[in-house]
Subunit: 160 residues, 2 copies
């Protein structure tokens, strides 16, 4: 049985927020690195079969980022800015360029569980329940779970 | 009677958002400049008697900002990043360093009304109603109205 169960994905009943929780066999600084080093991030983010090309990356408080995901000749671009990068938390914005008027405010927390394990908690905040629920129905769960499984593999291989 | 009534400030009933609406005797590009040029911005933002010192300012998509407001020897610092700056819209993050875990996602729209007038609409999104309502009770209305009145004066003087 896997020590790393599926990601728990929850829609908040009161605010237009999606919360996710997942544990990793990693120290907090490894998870921070996996989310801030562009070469590492590009290797695990997104569903299987998707390739990520980093176009711009400055993972510091006040920095910004842009990447293009591609599969079967289709490209999907995303961009945002890093509001804050600190050892236990990243706050950043997120826009899919196919929906240029939509913006999410994302927060990631790295919670040290000891014994080389860390709980990742994330929160994505948008300005309407309609937008939040459309996102939940978009199949994001597959990309999230497949991406984190790739990250599990990189952690097991000592790549992070 | 003033052609520029008080700012309309509304708390959304369904999502933790504060919306503001106000008209200015200005073209959209003047309002954009008033919000992106650091020397202009520092002259009008905040309540009367408060002085603003810009510490960092890069008002472009992917840029960031930080400023310190001071009055009677007390200092209040704020920072964030610019998710997007375009002629009709600014999206940025906002944190008051006195509450370092709180972040707002702010959107400003500049709507051309013709005849040299522009409607400014703003939206501040946070992740809880408690945080939103505490902000509304903090006296932000005074700062907003006094700040925009200073901007009216600068527009009338041809300073923007």
């Amino acid at each position: 049985m896997s020590k790393n169960p599926e990601t728990r994905i929850e829609a908040d009943p009161d605010v237009p927020v999606i919360r996710m929780t997942r544990e990793f066999a990693a120290k907090p600084e490894q998870l921070l690195r996996a989310h801030t080093d562009p070469d590492l991030f590009a290797q695990w983010v997104g569903p299987d079969g998707m390739t990520t090309r980093i176009e711009h990356w400055d993972a510091r408080t006040g920095g910004s980022w842009r990447y293009v995901a591609s599969r079967d000749g289709e490209e999907y671009a995303f961009y945002g800015c890093f509001h804050e990068v600190r050892p236990d938390r990243i706050v950043q914005t997120f826009t899919f360029e196919g929906e240029p008027d939509s913006v999410a405010l994302e927060t990631l927390w790295f919670e040290d569980l000891g014994d080389g394990r860390t709980r990742l908690r994330t929160q994505s905040l948008v300005d309407s329940f309609q937008g939040r629920d459309a996102w939940l129905r978009s199949g994001m769960e597959t990309g999230v779970n497949e991406g984190y499984a790739k990250l599990d593999g990189m952690l097991a291989d000592g790549a992070v």
